[in-house]
């Protein structure tokens, strides 16, 4: 589905990604883990075309996509739900969702809208409300719902659990699992190790712009490296 090979990128003169390689296969959830500032978000920004890659290759469904514009990447079905949600606060919830189908999935918009509302009943309740007035968890659901409206072939979820209460975090992960049930591959970028590992098949753990650990989650979970790496005890 997605192959990243030896990707380098950064901001200005500062290199953040120092040669990252990872891959996602059809239908699986892959977790990309690591603490703050290791470059997780930089990867998703490069994938969605917000940030140019310095070198390395990105292939999505077999085609190279590095250097394409964000809208061209959306057209190909790679949808990024960003960290910090970036929903449209001045638009109603329903409008936010409708805009999710701005370039893709327009013919099925009504049907998809209904589906998203089913998955996130809270959004139905608030469909007329301005998105800026939603709570953090609701905004996160909206951001994911907006991504779903584009009928993604691959969904990147960037820190979906951030800032949510523990109860909501559980709910969120349950939802992510549900999204995947229909075969949608998901790249889950998270700091929440355990819960991410529980729903992901494989995981990559980043440290300082590089992949430090990778493998099936069942293996990683018991790797003593994990805790050390993650808590910064290394």
């Amino acid at each position: 589905m997605l192959e990243i090979d030896n990707l380098r990128a950064g901001y200005g003169a500062v290199e953040v990604l120092r040669g990252v390689s990872l891959d996602i296969r059809g239908g699986e959830i892959v977790a990309l883990l690591g603490s703050n500032g290791v470059g997780k978000t930089t990867i998703s920004s490069v994938l969605s075309g917000l940030l140019p890659a310095w070198s390395g290759t990105i292939r999505f469904k077999g085609e190279p996509i590095a250097g394409l514009s964000p809208q061209a990447i959306v057209d190909r079905g790679l949808i990024h739900v960003p960290e910090g949600r970036h929903i449209f606060p001045n638009l109603a919830v329903r409008e936010n969702l409708e805009l999710g189908a701005y370039r893709r999935g327009k013919p099925n918009r009504a049907r998809n809208l209904e589906r998203v509302m089913e998955i996130f009943p809270r959004l139905r309740e608030r469909s007329g409300q301005k998105a800026g007035t939603l709570s953090g968890g609701e905004q996160q659901m909206l951001a994911i719902g907006r991504g779903m409206m584009a009928e993604p072939d691959l969904l990147i979820l960037d820190e979906p659990s951030i800032g949510l209460s523990p109860l909501l975090v559980e709910e969120m992960f349950a939802l992510i699992g549900k999204l995947n049930e229909s075969g949608l591959p998901i790249l889950l970028v998270e700091q929440n190790v355990l819960q991410s590992m529980e729903i992901a098949e494989r995981a990559f753990v980043m440290e300082n712009g590089e992949i430090r650990l990778s493998g099936p989650t069942a293996q990683l979970m018991d790797d003593p490296e994990l805790k050390r790496s993650y808590l910064g005890l290394a």
Partner: protein, 261 residues
């Protein structure tokens, strides 16, 4: 925290609360920062650490509670006035004065107590050397790497001749060798008599640097004590790694222990 004598308390936070809109960012937080030590404030993302810093240093005004510095009530005082009293904060997302050189950036801090431009620039140079920026004095600050920016942030604060520095994630985004380089710098600052309160994500640093730590989650203080003890606290582990992790780790430990036995 073991009760420190009143006279040893440099900064005292009593029952401070703050909410933004409907979100309660700080809930009734109390803590006392002792003089001459490195202490730390930890917690997962979104726990309200930076908000607490902002409340202490005057960038936000608390809804309730009191902040005092050297016994003086500084609640609601403007940041620059608090800085003038010797308490300086740094920022998590370092924003250098872009377009100005490293030397000029640091000199802004030095000017807090030094009027003369030449003296301030000299002081900037001295501080820059201390934090390891001596070779980049004339570089445009915007061109610094993340690590360089962090050092710059430290240097700017240090140049003000502070009594207390509140470091907001100075180690985040640094690689292990960079962290190893910066830690002695922070220690050296403490050794010169400056009290330090850290916000940190990097546990290793917290454990090796600080003598006392407070753990914040969801705007509330959930634990405090020596870092080595605090990281074992199930509440803290759950806050960091998610629900269920504490249990799993305990199980791991037990099986490991069993195997050895």
């Amino acid at each position: 925290m073991s009760e420190t004598a009143q006279s040893d308390t440099m900064l005292r936070v009593e029952g401070v609360s703050k909410s933004f809109g409907g979100l309660q960012a700080s809930k009734d937080i109390s803590m006392s920062v002792p003089r001459g030590k490195i202490t730390s404030l930890i917690g997962p993302n979104g726990a309200g650490k930076t908000t607490l810093f902002a409340l202490i240093t005057g960038f936000h005004k608390p809804d309730a509670g009191k902040v005092s510095f050297f016994g003086e009530d500084i609640t609601g005082m403007a940041p620059q006035d608090i800085a003038l009293r010797g308490m300086i904060r740094t920022f998590q997302i370092v924003q250098p004065f872009a377009g100005q050189s490293v030397r000029e950036n640091i000199a802004v801090g030095a000017h807090l107590h030094i009027r003369s431009r030449d003296a301030a620039l000299a002081k900037a140079e001295e501080v820059a050397r201390k934090v390891g920026l001596g070779d980049r004095l004339d570089m445009d600050a915007a061109a610094l790497t993340v690590a360089g920016r962090k050092r710059l942030e430290v240097a700017r604060a240090l140049a003000t001749d502070p009594k207390l520095i509140l470091f907001d994630e100075v180690l985040a985004g640094l690689n292990p060798s960079e962290i190893r380089d910066v830690i002695p710098v922070i220690r050296a600052i403490r050794d010169e008599g400056v009290t330090i309160l850290l916000i940190e994500h990097v546990m290793q640093a917290v454990m090796s640097l600080s003598e006392h730590t407070w753990v914040l989650n969801q705007g509330e203080l959930i634990a405090q004590g020596p870092p080595a003890e605090v990281v074992g606290d199930p509440l803290v582990i759950e806050a960091y790694l998610g629900k269920g992790m504490a249990e799993r780790i305990a199980r791991q430990r037990m099986t490991a222990g069993g195997a050895h036995a």
